[in-house]
């Protein structure tokens, strides 16, 4: 089973967050990029499926040259191949169109990705790409069970402790839930060795995407700010004993 894992490169701490001049994106000073944690679970699941069923795993990301680090990390984890689309956008429509176009050029039975990215918290791109490609999909998948070469059965969360069993024809796209497999540790030596491997880079022109074909969503970002609190949290300070006494009072008076 050949699997493509779509993984986003996301910044850790960001500073100087503001709305970009066009009102269509946020600008910030970012630190080093890391693999989006939800997508790392998708990679782990892909590697487990490969071990059981054979085939190869390709990591696919869209991002600037800084996102190479994330692809090297996926290679160190066990991906056979890594592909970077040399483009940068946080707009879900642009990102899903670009990914869908790239996926069309690659061969796969299954596409795996996470449920959402920690920076945009949108959770749109996987399902939107699947819909553009006409692939069946499932969201919040907690178990993947290949039935045969053409079918998989998945278990997915419905919320409130409920689950659905869904059968999908391949090729299909799954957004996997965190915890689907344990995250594995990558020894530093393997991470260093992975940097010797080559990463395929594709430009938007390679994908035949003219700038006019990549229209962002039709809304404007008007502002970005720390969340307004509906009520102000009362902070309790002092020695641990003082705090304990104060907290215990607050607990007892509400029981």
């Amino acid at each position: 089973m050949n699997i493509i894992v779509c993984c986003k490169s996301v910044p850790g701490l960001v500073t100087d967050l503001k709305v970009g001049a066009n009102g269509q994106s946020l600008q910030y000073q970012g630190q080093l990029l890391a693999i989006n944690e939800c997508d790392e679970y998708a990679l782990e699941e892909a590697l487990v499926l490969k071990k059981a069923r054979g085939g190869h795993v390709t990591a696919l990301t869209m991002g600037n040259i800084k996102s190479l680090d994330v692809l090297y990390y996926t290679l160190a984890k066990g991906a056979d191949k890594a592909v970077r689309i040399d483009a940068d956008s946080h707009d879900p429509r642009v990102a899903s169109t670009t990914l869908a176009t790239a996926l069309k050029k690659l061969s796969f039975d299954l596409v795996l990705t996470g449920t959402q990215a920690r920076d945009t918290l949108g959770g749109q791109v996987g399902i939107a790409a699947a819909t553009q490609l006409g692939l069946p999909f499932a969201y919040a998948v907690v178990a993947v069970d290949p039935v045969d070469n053409k079918t998989i059965r998945v278990r997915k969360e419905l919320g409130n402790g409920r689950y659905a069993e869904v059968e999908l024809q391949l090729p299909a796209l799954l957004c996997v839930q965190t915890g689907i497999q344990p995250l594995t540790f990558v020894p530093p030596a393997r991470r260093i060795r992975a940097r010797q491997q080559s990463v395929t880079s594709i430009s938007l022109a390679d994908l035949g995407l003219e700038s006019g074909q990549l229209t962002p969503q039709g809304y404007r970002i008007a502002g970005v700010h720390p969340p307004k609190r509906t009520h102000q949290v009362e902070l309790i300070q002092g020695s641990p004993q003082d705090i304990a006494t104060a907290l215990l009072n607050k607990i007892q008076e509400n029981r």
């Binding site: 920076d119 069946p136 659905a164 969340p227």
Partner: protein, 327 residues
């Protein structure tokens, strides 16, 4: 395009999910401000109970797609059905719950209809015909305001708790059945069965005091520190998702969107940063106390009382104090 709003009804086992009544409240607000109508749309099979339960909320219309083919539909087919109906109604806004079901459907509906999609929204307002939503970014530490202009349509997925549930109304809403060409429903994925998490040894939803532990605890052995506090307070031990993901506590203790929703009298969050999925499951608790070393942790957005500090200093002291009180 009309100025109408369509609310997608979320239901399971013949019952309407509480998010739906919140969406109806948001829909009524939109309809009033935009001068449009608000309709509820339910898809599935044997929807009589659902439509009856929806009738007393003053909607302008309830649309039903009631067909056995839809009951077996998985996400792709559901989104296709909803989009077929939406094409006929041509609404400006489609409201969906930002639940695990809504998260699956929203992007697909938006692609089918060529509409904007705004997910994870915590607020919704209307100004001069423009619809303004607030949504979190960067691990819920920042909020953005997004404007959908007067001539643009959008699928908007609202978080649970963004709106209070709609008040009942004496106006009985007419019901209209919509038929779609079921033979054209995409059939590459099929719903085979649904199930519920088997009942575990503890039921965290019944406790008056819930002491919850997050990834901030650092390691499995240290969970005992939090368990001691739960014991001393006569409460139960619960946790956030990452603690279950790494296998430190069983799924039955998980609070949040994919775990259990709890509303105890007192909820104590220890080392929980406050991802949206977690807040969804506990924000209605009577009194929320958060202990976290990061003053910017989103948990403080919902906490009534907070301690910024080391939980390994605070929690043992609180445990001691609670034990002393009990004698």
């Amino acid at each position: 395009m009309t100025q109408d709003t369509v609310v997608l009804v979320e239901h399971a086992d013949g019952k309407i999910d509480s998010i739906t009544l919140q969406l109806l409240a948001a829909g009524r607000k939109l309809a009033a401000a935009l001068g449009g109508k608000v309709a509820a749309l339910a898809i599935g099979h044997r929807l009589d109970g659902i439509s009856a339960a929806l009738q007393g909320f003053g909607m302008d219309k309830i649309f039903l797609v009631d067909d056995p083919a839809v009951a077996a539909a998985a996400g792709e087919a559901q989104a296709w059905v909803i989009s077929q109906v939406a094409r006929q109604l041509d609404p400006r806004i489609i409201l969906v719950g930002y639940s695990l079901i809504g998260m699956e459907l929203t992007p697909a509906i938006a692609v089918h209809l060529g509409m904007n999609a705004l997910t994870n929204c915590v607020n919704l307002d209307i100004r001069d015909g423009a619809v303004i939503v607030t949504r979190p970014v960067f691990d819920n530490t920042q909020h953005t305001e997004i404007i959908v202009d007067a001539n643009d349509a959008a699928v908007i997925a609202l978080q649970k708790g963004a709106f209070a549930p709609i008040e009942p109304s004496s106006h009985v809403t007419p019901i209209e059945s919509i038929s779609i060409e079921v033979e054209n429903i995409p059939a590459r994925s099929r719903l085979m069965a649904t199930s519920s998490e088997p009942a575990g040894a503890v039921d965290i939803t019944k406790a008056e005091v819930v002491v919850s532990v997050g990834r901030g605890i650092g390691s499995e052995e240290k969970i005992a520190v939090i368990a001691d506090l739960a014991d001393a307070l006569g409460g139960v031990l619960a946790c956030s998702r990452p603690v279950v993901d790494v296998g430190w506590l069983p799924r039955e203790r998980q609070v949040g969107a994919s775990g259990k929703s709890v509303t105890p009298k007192v909820y104590i969050a220890c080392g929980i940063s406050g991802a949206i999925q977690h807040l969804t499951g506990m924000r209605e608790s009577g009194r929320i106390i958060a202990i976290n070393k990061d003053p910017n942790a989103p948990i403080f957005q919902v906490a009534h009382f907070g301690v910024v500090g080391d939980l390994f200093e605070i929690v043992p002291a609180l445990t001691q104090a609670a034990k002393a009180l009990r004698g």
